[in-house]
């Protein structure tokens, strides 16, 4: 069938122009205006050449694959490490009961290729961290359909690291726009969501606004152990304390394991009864154990289509883009504010300025590492640290095989390890690239 005929709705925007098509928002994102050139070649380009990556094949990912395939994108890749669960079926519409247990990315890719003629969807059934820069570099654009801050943070840092700089006529370094891979981020919770456009190292990146997502405050262990007051406290007791006590030698079961959920529920119910606390149910237990986010198809559909629409406009340049964040709040009436996040000049991922950390000279390396884990900006998980020009060698602390050899450094004060102003090179699983932290001794 003639593709032009099939995609005639999309093509209206690609072969036609108008005064507004040329009136993009380049002044606000890019320094130069790039006018839209209507052409019959754009659709074939979308079909065969433009490479687009969808990260996540869940609630947003399923929608994104459908949306992009029906916007004419013909070369799509999708990456997801998850397998299909029954509770996905109320919204992840590319999956059926018979698919439960199979790879999300593979089932989704097969479905879209079966339904939409001529589209190629390549599935990657793995973690985003299993792919390296050479994989991510080949895409024109990346759309994120993720539900975790950690994964967003990792991929954001990866895509920022792909940007190269060039020297302008005045010698100032500017990002080479051909190395900037635009990233669109969608997220939903219940009836709310957001769609956000990121040009790494050009506009605000995910890390620039990390403080919008403060780490969750955990219930203190002493409350859980000694003064439980509500159903959640009882569930946390069974889940975090009683299991390890009752089965000290067996490995921790998966949170998704229904048998384990049932066990936690029964133990939590016993504890609740003993304390006269009400409200422990299996559903509530699962919610506490897994931090379940309520989700429906409608919201995923809205947010994904907003993201896909922006991807389409960015790749084809047929209209202005969202600048740069749209909220959707459908709980109490409807509110849809749009606003522009600003870059953070000291962003760990996208600024060229290096992170400085005030360190008391007597602070031990161990204390410093703890501080890096708790720091709202760094939020490291398990840092390994090298220093340029370290006083006792460059390697300060390493995880893995070198851990034993470097462990002794943990209790040394920083003044015995580095000089004031030293650069610490931190490797951490939270981020795909090293982070340089400058030590500033405070008196």
């Amino acid at each position: 069938m003639d593709e032009g005929q099939r995609f005639q709705d999309v093509n209206r925007l690609l072969v036609r122009t108008g005064p507004l098509a040329n009136n993009g928002n380049y002044g606000s994102i890019f320094p130069e205006h790039v006018p839209f050139e209507p052409s019959a070649d754009i659709l074939p380009f979308l079909r065969t050449a433009a490479q687009i990556l969808v990260v996540g094949a869940g609630g947003l990912g399923c929608e994104l694959l459908k949306d992009l395939a029906l916007l004419g994108f013909g070369q799509i890749e999708v990456i997801d490490m998850d397998t299909i669960d029954v509770s996905n079926l109320n919204r992840q519409f590319l999956f059926r009961s018979k698919d439960v247990g199979r790879s999300k990315s593979q089932v989704a890719a097969e479905f879209v290729m079966r339904r939409v003629q001529g589209v190629k969807v390549t599935a990657h059934f793995c973690k985003i961290q299993d792919m390296d820069a050479s994989f991510y570099r080949k895409f024109q654009i990346i759309v994120l359909g993720l539900d975790s801050i950690e994964a967003r943070r990792w991929i954001n840092s990866m895509v920022c690291s792909l940007v190269t700089y060039e020297a302008g006529p005045d010698g100032a370094l500017t990002p080479d726009l051909s190395s900037v891979i635009p990233m669109i981020d969608g997220g939903t919770e219940g009836l709310k969501g957001h769609a956000r456009v990121i040009f790494p190292r050009v506009s605000a990146c995910f890390e620039c606004t990390l403080d919008l997502f403060p780490p969750q405050v955990a219930v203190p262990l002493c409350t859980i152990a000694e003064t439980p007051r509500n159903a959640a406290h009882c569930v946390l007791y069974a889940h975090l304390i009683q299991r390890d006590r009752d089965f000290p030698d067996s490995p921790r079961p998966d949170n998704d394991d229904p048998e384990y959920q049932q066990w936690v529920y029964l133990k939590a119910a016993e504890r609740a009864a003993a304390f006269g606390i009400s409200g422990v149910t299996l559903t509530q237990t699962q919610g506490v154990m897994k931090n379940i986010i309520p989700a429906i198809a409608s919201t995923n559909a809205i947010i994904s289509a907003m993201c896909a629409a922006e991807a389409f406009k960015i790749v084809t340049n047929c209209s202005a883009y969202l600048n740069n964040n749209a909220m959707y709040m459908g709980g109490e009436g409807l509110y849809t504010p749009t606003f522009c996040y600003e870059r953070n000049p000291t962003c760990v991922a996208c600024s060229t300025a290096r992170v400085e950390l005030a360190v008391s000279p007597g602070e031990t390396l161990h204390a410093l590492i703890e501080r890096m884990v708790d720091d709202a900006r760094l939020r490291f998980k398990a840092p390994s640290i090298r220093a340029e020009g370290g006083l006792r060698g460059d390697t300060l602390y390493m995880r893995g095989p070198l851990e034993a050899a470097t462990r002794a450094n943990l209790e040394l004060p920083m003044r015995e390890l580095v000089r004031d102003g030293a650069s610490l090179i931190v490797t951490d699983p939270a981020l795909p690239v090293n982070t340089t932290v400058i030590v500033r001794f405070s008196s």
Binding site: M1, D2, Q5, R6, Q8, D9, V10, R12, L13, R16, G18, L20, A21, N23, N25, K66, D67, L70, L71, V86, S87, L89, N90, R91, R115, V116, G190, L191, V197, T227, R229, N230, F275, I277, T283, P294, A295, I296, A297, S298, N300, A301, I302, S304, A305, A308, A309, F312, S319, A320, Y321, N323, A326, G331, E332, G333, L334, Y335, T336, T338
Partner: protein, 559 residues
């Protein structure tokens, strides 16, 4: 509910509960037109398990449909669209019944609007203005909620158009604090007195576990004793309470020792919200006033019970509305009598630093008082039902309890009709004018006017502007004429609007294209609104959403 369904619907049951799901499963939905915009809305309702749907559409599947509609496949080319999309939509959920009618929507509305009697909600997509207006008044005659959506180029709109909607569970992000610290009920006072009457004799560790509600009760009692019974209400007086709490902490724990007394900190943080006398929000007052007015006028919304014929089964949503008004009237009686001006107690104790037994006891005291209040409300409801000739169990107890738990957020929304919106004399011209100043290059209000102009164009030339591929530009002045006529209509309404020429051109560029993403966005928005209307939970949009794909923004207006 069966375990299998519970698992499948887990993520949505956490939003609207099993009673919301039951309401959804009783809904009989009608979709008018099965193009991309319609199927995208319907998909999001089949997935969560709407009772049944019927697609009405007279079109045959074209190549263009295959390019923008996900619920069609290659082999469907040339076959009835209603049949094909129904087949693929039903695949999404085996619990949902689906059927289709292969008939032109416009002529069906003109010749046989009685087909609407079979449904409890209608979604209409991609209709011309004359058909839409006929449909809207036919729905209104039947009190049938209508949701209208449209995709046009980079622009999309959703219009929510029931006559009215009542809701109990708003699921507001801000649940009110209702601790009754300023006017404590006897059981609460007894608890504070019996368990913590002698705070000064407690050990230091025990002091750190006195629930902050008790600390506040003490502080308020002391303040009242020192001020001739007056309550702390102004900002300054509340600051005085905070200072008193600080002094208490210092007396208990010594200077600086209060730093880890979390309960004192919690008490200070709660002063501003907990020390305000519980008030009744204006929206809840309006609901109660209307309920009593309907009761005394015996408006027909009250008793549609079997009677005419033994087989007559009233629509569940009608019964829900009837019970809502009965309960709201019962609530008004409670507020006047037992409540002494306040709503029933909410009965929810937030988590706070406390030892287990005193927290649990306190939580039970609040819960018991809330249950007692709800029982009083229920007694009023039974009396009202009885007087209206209804059986005593017409209002189930769990409905009363739910209403009492949400008494602060009761809402009664009225929606303007499409006739009011589209008729020059009642159109909201001034509102559009104000909106025109927002949105930079492409204000959403201008897009709305342009969509109406495209409708006028269609009425005049029987085709959409910009649909002749070899000649777009000659449609621009024709569309401008239509815009001009509309603007003169709005001028009668007292507002001078201007629409820039580049926007008129952009509209012609679209050539009425139905883009999949715009369809998915408005389909998603419309389905959210349908879920709110059907479950009677969360607050629906009143009444229009405009998606502006020219820059990815959106606007909400009551038109």
């Amino acid at each position: 509910m069966e375990a299998q369904k519970k698992q499948r619907y887990d993520r949505q049951l956490r939003m609207w509960g099993e009673h919301g799901q039951e309401a959804l499963e009783r809904c009989k939905l009608c979709l008018l037109n099965g193009s991309a915009t319609g199927t995208e809305a319907l998909k999001n309702l089949v997935l969560p398990g709407i009772g049944s749907f019927t697609v009405i559409d007279g079109a045959l599947v074209t190549a263009r449909d295959l390019g923008n509609n996900f619920f069609l496949e290659e082999a469907d080319l040339g076959r009835p669209r209603a049949e094909c999309v129904t087949r693929l939509l039903k695949e999404l959920n085996e619990h949902v019944r689906g059927s289709y009618v292969h008939e032109d929507v416009g002529s069906l509305i003109r010749t046989n609007p009685a087909f609407l009697d079979d449904f409890s909600l209608v979604i209409a997509t991609q209709l011309t203005e004359p058909s839409l207006r006929l449909l809207a008044s036919a729905c209104r005659e039947r009190s049938l909620p209508l949701v209208v959506l449209r995709s046009y180029g980079l622009v999309g709109t959703v219009r929510v158009a029931p006559i009215e909607h009542v809701l109990v569970e708003a699921h507001s992000d801000n649940t009110p604090s209702d601790l009754r610290v300023v006017d404590p009920f006897p059981e609460l006072l007894a608890f504070a007195r019996d368990r913590f009457g002698h705070v000064d004799t407690l050990s230091s560790s025990e002091r750190k576990h006195v629930p902050y509600v008790v600390l506040l009760l003490h502080a308020v009692a002391e303040y009242k004793a020192a001020h001739g019974g007056a309550l702390p209400s102004s900002y300054k007086e509340k600051q005085a309470i905070k200072a008193a709490l600080g002094a208490l902490a210092e007396r208990w724990f010594g200077e600086g020792g209060a730093a880890d007394a979390l309960n004192v900190e919690e008490a200070k943080a709660a002063v501003n919200t907990a020390l305000s006398a519980p008030s009744i929000p204006p929206s809840a007052r309006a609901v109660m006033a209307e309920a009593e007015a309907r009761l005394s006028a015996q408006k027909p919304t009250l008793p549609p019970e079997p009677g005419q014929s033994p087989t007559f089964v009233p629509d569940p949503s009608t019964i829900r509305a009837r019970n809502f008004w009965i309960l709201a009237a019962a609530l008004a009686r409670f507020v006047r009598a037992e409540g002494k001006g306040t709503l029933p107690l909410l009965g929810v104790l937030p988590d706070m630093t406390a030892d287990t037994s005193s927290y649990v006891e306190l939580a039970n005291i609040y819960r018991a008082k809330a249950a007692a209040d709800a029982a009083r409300v229920h007694a009023h409801a039974v009396a009202i039902a009885h007087d209206a000739g209804l059986p005593d169990d017409a209002v189930p107890v769990e409905q009363t309890v739910r209403l009492c738990k949400n008494a602060h957020s009761l809402q009664w929304l009225r929606f303007r009709s499409l006739d009011e919106e589209l008729t020059p004399a009642s159109a909201r011209a001034a509102q559009l004018g104000a909106l025109l100043d927002e949105g930079g290059d492409a204000p959403a209000a201008a897009l709305y006017v342009l969509l109406r102009a495209a409708d006028a164009f269609h009425a005049r030339y029987n085709r959409w502007p910009g649909t002749m591929d070899d000649d777009i530009e000659s449609d621009v002045p024709l569309l401008k004429q239509c815009v001009g006529q509309l603007l003169s209509e709005y001028r009668q309404g007292g507002a001078t609007l201007t629409i820039r020429d580049d926007l008129v051109f952009e509209m012609c560029r679209y050539g009425a294209a139905e883009l999949h993403t715009v369809a998915a966005i408005v389909g998603g928005v419309a389905s959210q609104e349908v879920l709110k209307l059907v479950t009677g939970q969360y607050v629906p949009l009143n009444n229009t959403y405009i998606y502006n794909g020219l820059n990815g923004t959106g606007v909400v207006a009551e038109l």
